[in-house]
């Protein structure tokens, strides 16, 4: 009974592991859009290969033994139960492998923490349940708006067909220029949230009363989507993050438009008084 099915299982598991690397995005991280995200992607692939190799090594031996050293084929048990040499070897080798995995990771961690000399600083504030963005420094300084899920409730309640970006669309995108170092300061108004955009390899909890920061530099224009990644109550699943990366000129245009609009708001308010 079991030997064939076990081998088949091993085979399919291996295949699944392998295929997870062959196909992209649906099985793996989204395509990296920043150098940090690229590092993460590569380290993950490296870790996967290492694990796969160890897996095949260990279970190759085990399943060989399962097939050959069974009572039903008349195999008689040996009686060894100890070998200091072997123990030392299989303690040391994993240690070395781990060092090999930790080394690149250490470099990335240090790079991730370096939020100095940013071109633009944006504060992202988590609310139950939306994000608030305040452009604190750099081009666009002073811009400030909320960003809320724009998917109609009817889609969630299955009363309307779901659109392409179901649950990943907002009324006001956060907009940044391409190729600039963006520092995002996170904080929150009520409970914990987390600001997460997978394509940039950025995820940072937003903690009420405290400040945290992260950075990224987008390499290409485009629209990149993420979600709140810390349970924040009822609508935790419904507060996406959308970052729109624009060419420099278009970004300048966007800033100008925004500032005009907010000036208009201020004037009308003044007139209203």
């Amino acid at each position: 009974m079991s030997s064939k099915s076990v081998v088949a299982l091993l085979g399919s598991a291996t295949l699944a592991f392998y295929s997870s690397m062959a196909f992209s995005s649906k099985y793996n991280f989204p395509e990296p859009q920043s150098s940090i995200a690229q590092d993460i992607y590569d380290q993950h692939i490296l870790a996967l290969w290492i694990c796969l190799a160890i897996f095949i090594g260990v279970f190759g031996v085990m399943f060989y033994s399962i097939v050959k050293h069974r009572k039903s084929v008349g195999y008689k048990a040996a009686n060894f139960h100890h070998s200091t040499l072997v123990e030392i070897v299989w303690t040391t080798i994993p240690l070395l492998i781990l060092v090999a995995m930790a080394y690149p990771a250490t470099k990335t961690v240090i790079a991730m923490k370096d939020t100095s000399e940013a071109d633009i600083t944006i504060k992202a504030t988590g609310y139950q349940w939306m994000w608030g963005y305040d452009y604190l420094q750099g081009e666009g300084e002073g811009i400030s708006f909320y960003s809320k899920l724009s998917t109609p409730l009817a889609q969630v309640a299955n009363k309307e067909p779901k659109g392409e970006n179901y649950l990943l669309e907002v009324d006001n995108n956060m907009v940044v220029p391409v190729g600039k170092k963006i520092r995002v300061i996170t904080t929150a108004n009520d409970v914990l949230h987390a600001w997460w955009v997978p394509a940039f390899g950025v995820k940072q909890d937003a903690i009420p009363g405290f400040i945290r920061d992260v950075w990224f530099t987008a390499e290409r224009p485009g629209i990149f989507r993420g979600q709140c990644a810390e349970l924040c109550g009822k609508d935790h699943g419904f507060m996406p993050i959308v970052v729109e990366v624009l060419e420099q000129e278009k970004y300048a245009q966007w800033v100008a438009d925004k500032q005009k609009a907010s000036a208009a708001v201020v004037t009308t308010a003044a007139v209203g008084n």
């Binding site: 099915s5 997870s20 649906k26 793996n28 991280f29 989204p30 940090i36 993460i40 870790a47 996967l48 897996f55 260990v58 031996v61 085990m62 033994s65 399962i66 050293h69 069974r70 009572k71 009686n79 060894f80 139960h81 100890h82 070998s83 123990e87 303690t91 781990l98 995995m101 930790a102 990771a105 250490t106 990335t108 961690v109 991730m112 923490k113 969630v156 299955n158 179901y166 649950l167 990943l168 009520d190 914990l192 987390a194 997978p198 390899g201 995820k203 940072q204 909890d205 903690i207 009420p208 009363g209 405290f210 945290r212 979600q227 709140c228 990644a229 810390e230 349970l231 935790h236 699943g237």
Partner: protein, 524 residues
């Protein structure tokens, strides 16, 4: 009355009917109650999981409103961890530890009873909180504040449930430690103890170390909620992240509390069915101890996205990765035990091999999580869900199944149905992987955990996962049937049904007598 006249303390007079179970001081009765309680909680927790998977079967909100969904997730986690897995292992310890060390009973037999009877109280608090105004706690099984400061009565009921569970665990752990240290048969030195006993000794130490910290944590949460303190509130100089530190100081050792006894079980079963002694016994002991010690200094790997200084992240990353080394030693030792053995593959052995196979996958995904940059991506996604179901379901739970099949003949005096047992194994194995393997992909592709609804790109894997989960759930009813069938009408078991069994319990009759070792056996 309760005053005892019996000088020897050994007699078979006990009340009958329900009062036998309510008042018992017998480790076997108590072990049995633990195991049944744990199975009942497994059904409740499983029911909640089925609710989760049903809601996630398709995009859109179908059956669980978001708040209720969060309660389902929260209580699923709490009930499975505290109600199903931990009591099951304590139940196994109650049955097996006295028998395996040649003791008459547990050291504190009356307190042992209390440890058990606290559990239904806590279970009642948790389950009934679904029906109070405001509903059950919905802040995740980790109940991070400030979110958990927002809930209503349900959160307080959870807090007191945790207090009571903690008291139960601490008493249980003290009992086990004392039994093992003080009641071994003559000649049973520490380094001759069966591995299961060793792993439980170390687990019990972890329990007395961390359960009180959990009690302190929920107490601070309680006073923050009702008495105006500011432990987790920045306005008062506290910090929500402080909660995470104290919680995970408990929480990480907790996950090893759920896996070390599983290691012990597997270390008993593999040698038995390989008909060969355990390879590297003493390195197994040292590895277990190293895992326990290391587990106390890795907690912040659950907090890599909370934001801490780089040195902190690096320290916790290195320490966490280091745990792979002693765990690897265990896996290699098991492999070496099987190597050139004379193996047979009865159900306990199948579950043990399944355990090693799938636990290693879960361990690998753990190491992937431990690497800070990667964890930044996968934290709070389904990748983590996949990781810990591999170590908890196909780890802890599979080991519990293995243990039950292994020792059922001794407990019930009857054999289970081998064919059905194998079927239980293979169905569990297949459905488990269908349910949880795809969750790795979901997580990598960016599906956050604890959400009742998701974007369309995750639809097909979620459907596959749900189908696997339903299949896995139904399969567990088969287990119930097998156990009942065994107890009622299984074939009579011999004293030593497994040819390779070498521990003390196999020298006792099957079923084991009410008092195991009236006079201690002598171990050479």
């Amino acid at each position: 009355m309760a005053v005892v006249q019996d000088v020897h303390g050994h007699h078979d007079h006990h009340p009958s009917g329900i009062m036998r179970w309510v008042t018992t001081t017998n480790h076997k009765d108590i072990g049995t109650m633990y195991l049944w309680f744990s199975f009942a909680m497994f059904l409740v927790g499983g029911f909640l999981a089925m609710g989760i998977r049903a809601e996630l079967f398709m995009p859109g909100i179908q059956i669980l409103e978001p708040e209720l969904f969060n309660s389902f997730t929260t209580l699923h986690g709490l009930i499975m961890v505290f109600g199903a897995i931990m009591p099951a292992f304590v139940g196994l310890a109650n049955w097996q530890v006295p028998m395996m060390i040649g003791a008459p009973d547990m050291a504190f037999a009356r307190m042992n009873n209390w440890s058990f009877w606290l559990l239904p109280v806590a279970g009642a608090l948790l389950i009934s909180s679904f029906f109070v105004p405001g509903g059950a706690a919905a802040g995740g099984w980790t109940f991070y504040p400030p979110l958990s400061a927002q809930g209503g009565l349900g959160v307080d009921m959870m807090i007191f449930a945790i207090h009571i569970l903690g008291a139960s665990s601490i008493m249980g752990a003290i009992n086990i430690i004392t039994t093992i240290l003080n009641m071994r048969a003559p000649g049973m030195t520490l380094m001759k103890m069966p591995m299961f006993v060793w792993t439980w000794l170390i687990t019990a130490y972890l329990l007395v170390l961390v359960m009180p910290v959990l009690a302190g944590t929920v107490t601070m949460l309680l006073t923050d909620r009702h008495f105006g303190t500011s432990f987790f509130n920045a306005a008062g100089g506290g910090d929500p992240v402080l909660f995470q530190h104290v919680f995970w100081f408990f929480g990480h050792p907790e996950v090893y509390i759920m896996i070390l006894p599983a290691f012990g079980v597997v270390s008993e079963i593999i040698p038995t069915f390989s008909r060969k002694p355990l390879f590297g016994y003493s390195s197994m002991v040292y590895a277990t101890a190293s895992i326990a010690i290391l587990s106390c200094v890795v907690w912040a790997h659950h907090m890599f996205t909370a934001g801490m200084p780089a040195v902190g992240q690096l320290f916790f990353m290195y320490a966490t990765m280091l745990i792979a080394v002693p765990t690897g030693v265990k896996v290699f030792n098991w492999t070496a035990t099987m190597w050139r053995g004379s193996m047979t593959f009865e159900t306990p052995m199948l579950f043990s091999i399944g355990f090693v196979f799938l636990f290693v996958i879960g361990g690998f995904s753990g190491v992937v999580c431990a690497i800070v940059p990667i964890d930044i991506q996968v934290q709070d996604t389904y990748y983590v869900i996949a990781h810990f179901h591999y170590v908890l379901v196909s780890g802890a739970l599979f080991a519990i199944f293995a243990a039950v099949y292994y020792w059922l003949p001794k407990w019930a005096g009857r054999m289970y149905d081998e064919k059905l047992g194998k079927m239980h194994f293979w169905l569990s194995m297949i459905f488990f992987n269908v349910a949880f393997f795809v969750q790795h992909f979901l997580g990598l592709a960016g599906m956050p955990r604890r959400i009742p609804d998701y974007s369309l790109q995750f639809a097909d894997f979620n459907m596959i996962s749900s189908i696997g989960a339903f299949g896995f759930g139904l399969t567990q009813l088969l287990f119930l049937y097998i156990v009942i069938k065994c107890i009622r009408s299984g074939e009579k078991a011999t004293d030593k049904p497994w040819e390779g069994g070498s521990t003390l319990e196999w020298t006792l009759p099957s079923p084991a007598p009410y008092h195991s070792f009236e006079t201690p056996p002598v171990i050479k």
